[in-house]
Amino acid sequence: MPLSKFVNVMISYGYHRYPGRLFVVEGTDGSGKSTQLQLLYQWLKAEGYPVFFSEWNSSPLVKDTTRRAKKRRLFTPTTFSLLHATDFADRTERDIIPPLKAGAIVLADRYIYTAYARDVARGCDRAWVRELYKFAVKPTVAFFFRAPLDIAVDRISSARPNLKFYEAGMDMDWSDNEEESFKIFQGKILQEYDHMVNEFGLTVIDGTLPIRSQQRQMREIVSRYLKEKLKEKVAVSK
């Protein structure tokens, strides 16, 4: 009996064909990506598009496990990677694929590239981490908000004076000093992002520009992929 009669066989990155659109934002902490995504969301909603939001680390199935592991410092680079991939798989199966199939717009704050950058910075094998997320839907556009390291670090330190253990990369023993460790970690992450610009065709936005001009660029690019037809879906469902 053919298995495909019963199960949806896994589709690999780049091979999904859905009527919806997926826009994602990426960048180091403090690059301003979340602000930009929020502004994009407001605009798309005002324009009448059906929009859904999906955040990193938001799966209800995995949340408790992740929280407990962070608190008790149970993670190794491998389990950190795998548990975040579990969280992402749940988001994909629950929050991303269904709206895309229905023709909606999905906005994701952080996507697989966050994992690629962070896990490789922690020493995981590049090819292994990429394979792990092979089931991910390729975004219509992936924006990478690039801010120089010192600016990003400044923004984060002023917003959150107390860095969390894993956030600062303290599990890696790069430095006993939290701020120092954070800088080393963010530097490695930024290096990985720079590698990925060509590899995955990320759209780079200069994170040092004024917020409004970044948003203008973003809307200009997004609008190329929007069609009036996408709005009709809302009218039908209402």
């Binding site: 009996m1 495909s4 066989v9 995995v62 149970l74 491998t78 548990l83 991939a85 629950r94």
Partner: protein, 276 residues
């Protein structure tokens, strides 16, 4: 000493160095008696002086509880489930199995990556994807595959054990059959096919599990004593089981007692209510 070898990419931040222990895997589909044999082997190995660590799926400190909770609600997506199991596996590998192997323990594991691969593939996962994910797994010193020829025979064994059919062991999430029995047969057939495929690929030592527990147990002992430097195990050690000790008798009895935990029975009842 065994050289540390991985199926794919080695674990990051793990020192690659020979280890003194032995990693022995007991594999097989649901109801073949794996846990009974793990218990018997543990008792035997300890009785002849070997320190043993036994482990199995969803027993990690990191993810064990999370997986159990997620399974209860039947809300676990297919890909999510595979990754959750991989996280549980990696945690046990890094924090239980490797330290024990370095310390010279014999690690007996009830299932390893092969069950996880089989379950994932029958649920539509890309076979290469799941294999690459488990590339972090240490190549065991031996893999014993307890084989039962047919799904019907497995079903009979599940009934004899008195536990009845479990939601997940019957693959109810796949919608393969209208009731637990039909679904169990269809699901286990698919799993058996995957295990047969993996036999050559991973070099399973196939053990016919359709025979009485004592015969299977004695074959396992012989084979394992070869794995553990055969010169150190004398003939009398092997026959330590010709007469079952009290502990072992208990272990055999356990097989006859339903292994299903109270909570799982509740789940099974609940899901049968909702079944059409």
């Amino acid at each position: 000493m065994t050289e540390m070898g991985f199926y794919g990419t080695a674990l990051p931040t793990v020192d690659i160095e020979p280890y003194a222990g032995k990693l022995i895997v007991i594999e097989g589909t649901d109801g073949v008696g794996r846990s009974t044999h793990v218990t018997l082997l543990r008792t035997w190995l300890e009785s002849i002086g070997y320190a043993v660590l036994d482990t199995g799926m969803t027993r990690s400190i990191l993810a064990g509880r999370g997986i159990k909770n997620a399974r209860t609600g039947h809300t676990l997506g297919r890909l999510t489930m595979q990754l959750y199991y991989a996280a549980d596996f990696a945690d046990r590998l890094e924090n239980q199995m490797l330290p024990a192997l370095r310390a010279g323990f014999i690690v007996l594991t009830d299932r390893y990556i092969y069950s996880a691969i089989a379950r994932a593939v029958v649920r539509g996962a890309d076979p290469e994807w799941i294999r690459a994910m488990y590339g972090i797994a240490l190549v065991p010193d031996a893999v014993f595959y307890l084989r039962i020829k047919s799904a019907e025979e497995l079903a009979a064994r599940v009934l004899v054990s008195g536990g009845g059919f479990d939601y997940w062991e019957s693959g109810m999430d796949l919608g393969l059959g209208d009731d637990y029995y039909d679904s169990f047969i269809a699901y286990q057939k698919l799993l058996l096919r995957e295990f047969d495929r993996m036999t050559g690929e991973y070099g399973f030592h196939v053990i016919d599990a359709g025979r009485p527990v004592r015969r299977v147990a004695s074959e396992l002992r012989r084979a394992i004593s070869k794995v553990i430097e055969s010169d150190k195990i004398v003939e009398s050690d092997l026959h330590a089981g010709a007469v079952l000790g009290t502990k072992e008798k208990e272990a055999v009895k356990i097989e006859a007692i339903p292994k299903v935990k109270a909570s799982e029975t509740v789940i099974a009842k609940e899901s049968s209510k909702t079944a059409p």
